[in-house]
């Protein structure tokens, strides 16, 4: 197949962009959950 590299690269781009975005969400989610736990702990201590 001619130009297969570009085509494959396009497929990988879709995958990479999707994956990068999901990872960023997952990380922010984890950090937020942690912050909530810390806050809840602080509130319980009062």
């Amino acid at each position: 197949m001619k130009n297969f590299e570009n085509l494959f690269a396009a497929w990988m781009v879709v995958w990479a962009v999707f994956f990068a975005y999901e990872v960023s969400i997952a990380r922010r989610l984890a950090r937020l959950r942690q912050d909530i736990e810390v806050l809840k702990q602080q509130m319980r201590e009062r």
């Binding site: 396009a10 497929w11 781009v13 879709v14 995958w15 962009v17 999901e22 969400i25 909530i36």
Partner: protein, 237 residues
């Protein structure tokens, strides 16, 4: 734990199968052969992007009308999803243009419109980042989001008109120029697949935003408690 990643895995599966269909199942195209298959990623990303933008618009209007936080969450989630789809469209466009036209970029109407919309919605996200007060952030970004959405058709029309005066190579050879049924089926599958991916990332972002709103409420409650006990000088029981 597993359920949290189920949707991500499903989306990954969609991308895999869409790519597989595009690369190996779709029939060969007469003039451009293999490289034409990028079309199966490029066009669906556009359709997914416009759907996300429409959802964002509805969410923005709904927020201004009702002031319910969930609409703000939906607005930012849909706008980010649109930016993601836009990025895919902008990245796949040049990958197509280079082998076919020998140039990385062409100022054809669709690609230019996509670029401007990308910048527009990036500005939306930057605006949100630079506004601190949550209520103001939601209100002003909703207003800007509405303006941006109203601008989108004007951007497209102006670029289209401009292109007829200054002809540029067209990415995609005109909408669906003589699509044979085999291509049509793969295209439909890819559109559905990418829409599915867009919806999944939208929902994930929505979940994040709702949690963030919950955190803000909790923090407000905590600070109110602090203020109360500071003013009364007593610990709350």
């Amino acid at each position: 734990m597993k359920a949290r990643y189920a949707s991500t895995i499903f989306a990954a599966g969609l991308i895999f199968f869409a790519g597989y269909a595009a690369l190996f199942i779709a029939p060969d195209e007469k003039t451009m052969h293999a490289i034409q298959r990028i079309f199966y990623f490029h066009l669906p990303s556009w359709i997914a992007m416009f759907t996300a933008l429409a959802v964002a618009f509805v969410a923005n209007v709904a927020y201004l009308a009702t002031r319910r936080a969930k609409w703000d969450a939906l607005g930012v989630s849909a706008s980010e999803a649109a930016v993601v789809c836009c990025t895919i469209g902008l990245a796949t466009g040049p990958l197509w243009a280079k082998p076919v036209w020998g140039i990385w970029w062409t100022w054809d109407a669709r690609l230019t419109t996509t670029f401007i919309l990308w910048l527009l919605y990036l500005s939306y996200l930057l605006l949100r980042g630079l506004l601190d007060d949550p209520e103001r952030k939601a209100t002003f970004s909703a207003v800007f989001g509405i303006f941006a959405f109203l601008d989108a058709p004007l951007v497209y029309v102006s670029n289209r008109l401009w292109r007829t005066q200054h002809p540029q190579p067209v990415i995609g050879g005109g909408s669906g120029s003589g699509l044979d049924p085999g291509m049509g089926r793969v295209l439909l599958f890819c559109v559905i697949a990418l829409m599915g991916v867009m919806i999944i990332i939208l929902l994930d972002r929505y979940k994040l935003e709702k949690l963030r709103q919950e955190f803000e409420e909790l923090r407000l409650e905590y600070e109110t408690l602090n203020l109360e006990s500071a003013s009364t000088g007593k610990e709350r029981p």
